[in-house]
Structure formats: structure tokens, C-alpha cells
């Protein structure tokens, strides 16, 4: 049968009857069984549900029906997306044993398009982290070098694609949690426009920043998946009501005449020299493909990290108040409600989650709100305004995705060192803009480097075009 690298060709061969969804599922399960004891991308497999869905797709093909664009394609979901009747833990002890009573909207849309959900992947607890080491169920390893981290927080989903267990997976991105692991694992990762993809059934971390997006080996597969999962959902009050422009039809339109700006503030201090060199080569490749390339200054982006580490913990402290031992997950009993709440939360949350809850509670507390949360929200406007000014002269922007290639497990034990991983990716979340990480050659250590294409609100079609041009150019790199 067709391999597990390309969703588009696998779906085509299932639709044509050359192979079956059942065979594709079996191949995916065999690949996981062969290697996941070492990589540990998956927390749970959803074998029963997958078998039912694969059988339904095969029955539809046999009956001569046209199945969806992801017909029979095995797919992995980050374990912070609700799957009815199957575990959803957020890699936290506090949700151990919980089986959601409903499916996330993205799960319904994927299955309606024919995709087969094979399992749930590891993450940093509640998506807080950049290495997937911070999981209550152990670290995930980078399939390209198992002494290294896969990045995070969606490290399990990035690793599942990189290890060729599945051609597609979904992650969530609050400050870089799709793009940074994509960069470290050598795959494509997309953070869509805020509101483009429904968050219904995505367990909330920072609600004004969170967005679901795909991982894939190719820009084309990521575009197909984005077109499937995006679009208005009445169950998410922040879902954009206007119809979105599909990205697949214009994917190969090239970059001729596009104006692309390299963000100068994201090309300096703190970024490794080999990563900078690849980003410059990516800019040259876009110029060679017909784009006009120049540098552009977006000065407030250097304050993005500081603003993010107030806004995200503040929203998290509020969102995570719901884990009180009453409605779902674990409870550690106590003589009264307050003691039970405290016992449950103290035992159920890991250290990074506690750190962010406390930081957020402090930033929102009386007397500090204006100094911290209020100020960070104003910086958000500043970054957004400066991006808008940059987009008066440019169609798209370019930067590195991650300051470095994949680092060794345990290398960044200090929280602030880990937070710095997100310096290039955070500005897009603060502004709500889409961006994509595309593999572009390797660093001095032979590990993948990702380059980030940033686009204005809802300009995914343009963003995917430039990403496609980069992917073509990357094929010819030394």
C-alpha cells in the first residue's frame, strides 16, 4: 500500500480502491507498535473507534460513494482535544480516568472528511511547556534523535508525524506549541488565524490565544487539513462567522510579485547562527522565486515574551479554576469543600501548572491588575498596530521559528530558559495572526531548522502559497 507520509496520496488511493482504510489503519498501528515504546508520542490508542471509522470509509468506497478529502487517513490528536468515551488527560494527573461526554468540533469535522483517529498524543501538562518533558506521563522523544526533545507543547503530535506513524496530526498553539515542535521535528506546523478553527472541545489554556492547527510532512497536506477543520462553529463564541477562503486551490500560485519582509527584531540576539543562516537562505529562495524581499522592523515584538508570560498565566489561572474535584477527573477527599478542592489541586497539578496558576492569580489580583495584566494587554495592541503598519508595505513576513534546533532532554530545567523558546512564535498569538513553520534544511548538528511565514489576519491562502514555495526550494538545499 501507499506509505504513511502523504495524506493526499493515501486518501486518493483509498478512494480509488487501490488500498483500504483498514489496511492504512493496520499499517499505522504496526508503525506505532514497532517504535513508540522508545518515542512515546502516544498516551492512548483509540483502536475500537478507529476500526469502526475505517470500516465505514471502506463500506462507503465499496458502495461507490465519494468519500471526503481525508478518506481513511490515520490521524493523531493532541490529548487536550475531547474524544467522547476515550481518555482525554491534558497529560495531567488531575484528569486521569476522565472520558469526555462529547467530541471536539475538529474531531467531528475530521471524521466527516473520512479521517481515522488512531490515538491521543502526549503534551506538556495543559499545554504549558516547550519540550513535552513536562507531562505527568513521561517525556516524548524526538524521533530524529531520541536523546533530544521534540519541542512542545504539542510534542507528541509532532513526533507522531515525524516518526511516520500517521501522515497528519492536530496540535494546539498558544505561544508556539505547534510551530516550535514542528521546527524541531522537521515537519510542517500551522497556527491558524484566531477564530478560524473551532475551539469547542479543546481544553482551554489561554482562551484569547489558543488555536488548533495541523502537523504534516507537506504544506499541501497541512492545507487540506486546515480547509477541513476551519470554518464557523456556533458552539465556539469566538469562531469567525464569515466564510473563509479555501487554501488548497491557490497553493501552487507561487510568490511572484509578493512583498516579503524579514522581521529584523527576530533575527538577532538569542537566535543561533545556523538558524539565522537558514532563514536568510529561505528569504533568498523566495526572492529567486519572484518575491520582493526586504527587512522590516516590528520593534514591539521584543516585548512579546514579557506580555505573553502575564496574559497566558492570567487566563490559565481562571480557566484551570474548574479543576476542583467536583465535576470531572480526580478528587482527593477532604472534610469540607474547600479542603477537598485544595487537596485535589495540590496533588493533581504538576509544578509548571502550579507556577503559572500562581503567576496568573498574582497578575490579576487587586492592586496588581493594571501594573501587570492591563499593561500586557496594551502591549498586545502595540504589537498588533505595528504588524498592521508592516503589512501596509509587505504581504507576508518571515522569521526563524525556534531560536535553536532540538535540544537534549533535561537541558533546559530553568523555567525562563524554556520560555525563551517561544520568542519568535509568540507575536502571532498576541496579534491573532496565522503563521506556519516549514522545514528548511538542517543546522550545524544535522537536525532540522524551521522557517516561519507570518501573515495578516485570515490570509492563510497567501501564507500557504509562500510556504509551498519554501518547501519546493528546501528540496534543493545542500
Amino acid at each position: 500500500m501507499t506509505g504513511l507520509r502523504s495524506a493526499a496520496s493515501l486518501a486518493a488511493s483509498i478512494q480509488s480502491g487501490d488500498t483500504s482504510a483498514a489496511d492504512a489503519l493496520a499499517a499505522s498501528q504496526a508503525a506505532i507498535a514497532a517504535r513508540d515504546d522508545e518515542v512515546r508520542a502516544f498516551l492512548h490508542l483509540t483502536d475500537e473507534r478507529a476500526a469502526e471509522q475505517a470500516a465505514a470509509v471502506d463500506a462507503a468506497v465499496t458502495a461507490g460513494e465519494t468519500v471526503g478529502p481525508l478518506a481513511g487517513v490515520p490521524i493523531a490528536l493532541k490529548d487536550n482535544m475531547c474524544t467522547r468515551g476515550a481518555p482525554t488527560t491534558c497529560s495531567s494527573k488531575i484528569l486521569e480516568g476522565w472520558h469526555p461526554p462529547y467530541d471536539a468540533t475538529v474531531v467531528e469535522r475530521l471524521e466527516a472528511a473520512g479521517a481515522v483517529v488512531v490515538g491521543k498524543t502526549n503534551l506538556d501538562e495543559f499545554a504549558m511547556g516547550s519540550s513535552t518533558e513536562n507531562s505527568a506521563y513521561g517525556a516524548t522523544r524526538n524521533p530524529l534523535d531520541t536523546t533530544r526533545v521534540p519541542g512542545g507543547s504539542s510534542g507528541g503530535s509532532a513526533a507522531a508525524v515525524a516518526a511516520e506513524y500517521v501522515p497528519l496530526s492536530l496540535g494546539s498553539d498558544t505561544g508556539g506549541s505547534i510551530r516550535q515542535p514542528a521546527s524541531l521535528c522537521g515537519v510542517v506546523g500551522v497556527k491558524p488565524t484566531y477564530g478560524a478553527v473551532s475551539r469547542y472541545g479543546l481544553i482551554a489554556f489561554a482562551s484569547s490565544l489558543d488555536q488548533i492547527g495541523p502537523f504534516a510532512h507537506t504544506v499541501g497536506d497541512a492545507a487540506i487539513c486546515f480547509d477541513v477543520i476551519s470554518g464557523h462553529d456556533p458552539l465556539d463564541a469566538t469562531s469567525i462567522p464569515e466564510a473563509l477562503t479555501p487554501t488548497v486551490p491557490t497553493l501552487d500560485d507561487g510568490v511572484e510579485g509578493l512583498r516579503i519582509g524579514i522581521v529584523s527584531e527576530l533575527m538577532g540576539e538569542g537566535i543561533d547562527a545556523d538558524v539565522l543562516r537558514r532563514t536568510e537562505e529561505a528569504a533568498e529562495a523566495l526572492a529567486a522565486a519572484g518575491a520582493t524581499v526586504d527587512t522590516v522592523s516590528v520593534p514591539a515584538t521584543i516585548y512579546g515574551l514579557a506580555a505573553y508570560y502575564l496574559i497566558a498565566p492570567a487566563e490559565a489561572s481562571s480557566n484551570l479554576a474548574r479543576y476542583d474535584g467536583v465535576r470531572y477527573g480526580q478528587r482527593v477527599d477532604g472534610a469540607n469543600v474547600a479542603t477537598m478542592n485544595t487537596n485535589t489541586r495540590s496533588a493533581g497539578f504538576g509544578d509548571e501548572v502550579k507556577r503559572r496558576i500562581m503567576l496568573g492569580t498574582y497578575a490579576l489580583s487587586s492592586g496588581y491588575y493594571d501594573a501587570y495584566y492591563g499593561k500586557a494587554q496594551r502591549v498586545r495592541t502595540l504589537i498588533s498596530d505595528e504588524f498592521a503598519a508592516a503589512y501596509e508595505n509587505f504581504d507576508l513576513l518571515l522569521s526563524p521559528t525556534s531560536p535553536s534546533t532540538a535540544f537534549e532532554l533535561g537541558a533546559k530545567s530553568d523555567p525562563m530558559a524554556l520560555y525563551m523558546c517561544d520568542v519568535c512564535t509568540i507575536p502571532s498569538n498576541l496579534a491573532g495572526h496565522p503563521s506556519i513553520s516549514v522545514p528548511f534544511g538542517t543546522g550545524d548538528d544535522g537536525l532540522p531548522v524551521g522557517v516561519q511565514v507570518l501573515a495578516p489576519m485570515l490570509q492563510e491562502p497567501l501564507m500557504f502559497r509562500a510556504a509551498q514555495a519554501l518547501e519546493t526550494a528546501a528540496g534543493g538545499l545542500a
Partner: protein
């Protein structure tokens, strides 16, 4: 904002957030939160008086659904996932006083 937080303040914040910390944890978290708040203090360099705060990137207001009855989550399925339930409700320890 000074970019610092005291041990007592961390203990207070932890109690507001319903978290119990050991003495060692209190020391470690205080040190770590100080480092993060020092980074946050970079924002003091900016003049933001004339800048409006931004709560979310794509403002929508009054997002309402039609007032019609639709199917909701199955009550028994929801309650089956709770740590304790009884008579169609979530069961909790006493809110006032203590359990015998």
C-alpha cells in the same frame, strides 16, 4: 511594579488558587516567580498611556444562539465521569463545617 514577589505574597496567592505548598516548594516558587516578574518588568520601559488594552484579537460581541431547545449532553454520561454523584447531582463534602 517592582518585578519582585515576596514569600508571603506567594503563600497568599497559593491559598487564593487553592494550592497547598511545602516550605521547600514555597522557596523554589518564590525564586522562580521573581525571575519571571523581573522579565515582565521590561514592560515598564514602554509608554502605554495612550494605548488601548486588547482583550482578544477578533472582537465579536453579543454572540447569541437562537432561543430554541436543542439536545444537550446526556446527564447520566456526564455524572458517570464525576468523582461522586447521587440522585442526578454532583456529590461534594459539606460546604460549611466539616464531615463527621
Amino acid at each position: 511594579m517592582s518585578g519582585e514577589i515576596s514569600r508571603d505574597e506567594v503563600a497568599h496567592v497559593a491559598s487564593l488558587a487553592r494550592l497547598r505548598l511545602t516550605d521547600d516548594e514555597l522557596t523554589t516558587f518564590t525564586d522562580q516567580l521573581c525571575v519571571v516578574l523581573e522579565t515582565a518588568a521590561q514592560l515598564n520601559a514602554l509608554d502605554l498611556d495612550d494605548v488601548e488594552p486588547m482583550a482578544q484579537p477578533y472582537p465579536l460581541s453579543n454572540v447569541l444562539r437562537p432561543d430554541v431547545v436543542v439536545e444537550s449532553l446526556d446527564r447520566d454520561e456526564v455524572l458517570s465521569q464525576a468523582p461522586a454523584a447521587e440522585d442526578g447531582r454532583f456529590r461534594v463534602p459539606p460546604a460549611l463545617g466539616e464531615a463527621p
